[in-house]
Amino acid sequence: MKFLLIDDSRTMRNIQKKVLSAIPGTEFAEANDGLEALCVIAATPGGFDLMIVDWNMPIMDGLTMVKKVRETDKKTLMIMATTEAEKSRVLDAIRAGVNNYVVKPFTPEGLLEKVNQTLAKAKAAA
């Protein structure tokens, strides 16, 4: 399973990698901002199974990146992982096309649960 972790904090990406390595067979790619993520996606044959996207990033924020991805890709699973917790922000992200939303700070169990929940829902819908 190929995951793309998009966050301007390398510390946060390392934490996510460590937590999600509990899922068997995972491979990880990373990006520092939304624009870099679009480049990584374009350069990766077959794309990714799931992306975890931060909201507040320099150069291109996560919401903009999600909208751009959804212009041509309605399938790849995306989870927004962000400190933005206001209801209006969550709705903006859902309207943009994310499949799930996790608010920072999160516990390792909380993040893993959201990812597993997202994967299970997609599998059930397939």
């Binding site: 934490i15 400190t83 917790a85 920072k104 909380g110």
Partner: protein
């Protein structure tokens, strides 16, 4: 001749609890550390003589100003290690990244409970001895002292609600 003297600026008391809760929540969930919050006080001296590391987040929108988390080098190293899961030298770029991310999460987590719309900046991190971070003179700075088993730190809140918002 009488003079109109403006009253001294005061901090909105509704701002205090969100930052206390956010601090406890962030350090508990992300670093596994229980934080005890001390009695807040108004900062009167811009110099942070006891602090050698800080993460700064700016606020814009209906609330403006900045929030800073300040640590001694020793406390910062221990708390960063607990958060990042790896020991980092103070000169390692990942150390500054981790400090910035902690500040980002405290500010972001508090933001939703401030009762106003605001955006937060990407973090800035200052490392060194004897630095002075000059905040807006017209906005009081509230210091929330925090202690943990890994060391003490402070959350300094210098924000205001914009009139008419």
């Amino acid at each position: 001749m009488s003079q109109n003297i403006a009253p001294p600026p005061t901090i909105d008391s509704k701002f205090i609890l969100p930052f206390m809760n956010a601090t406890r929540n962030v350090f508990h969930k992300m670093a596994g550390v229980a934080t005890t919050i001390g009695k807040p006080y108004l900062k009167t001296d811009a110099a942070n003589t006891a602090c050698e590391v800080c993460g700064i987040i700016g606020f814009t929108g209906q609330i403006t100003g900045s929030v800073m988390i300040s640590f001694s080098e020793s406390a910062a190293q221990k708390l960063v290690e607990a958060f990042a899961g790896v020991k980092l030298a103070i000169t390692d770029p990942d150390f500054a990244d981790a400090v910035g991310e902690l500040a980002n999460m405290v500010a972001g987590s508090a933001k939703k409970d401030l009762g106003a719309l605001a955006s937060i900046s990407v973090p800035s991190v200052v490392i060194g001895k004897g630095y002075i971070v000059a905040m807006n003179r017209n906005v009081p700075c509230l210091v929330i002292p925090c202690s943990s088993p890994l060391g003490d730190f402070a959350v300094e809140v210098s924000i205001k609600r914009n009139p008419g918002d």
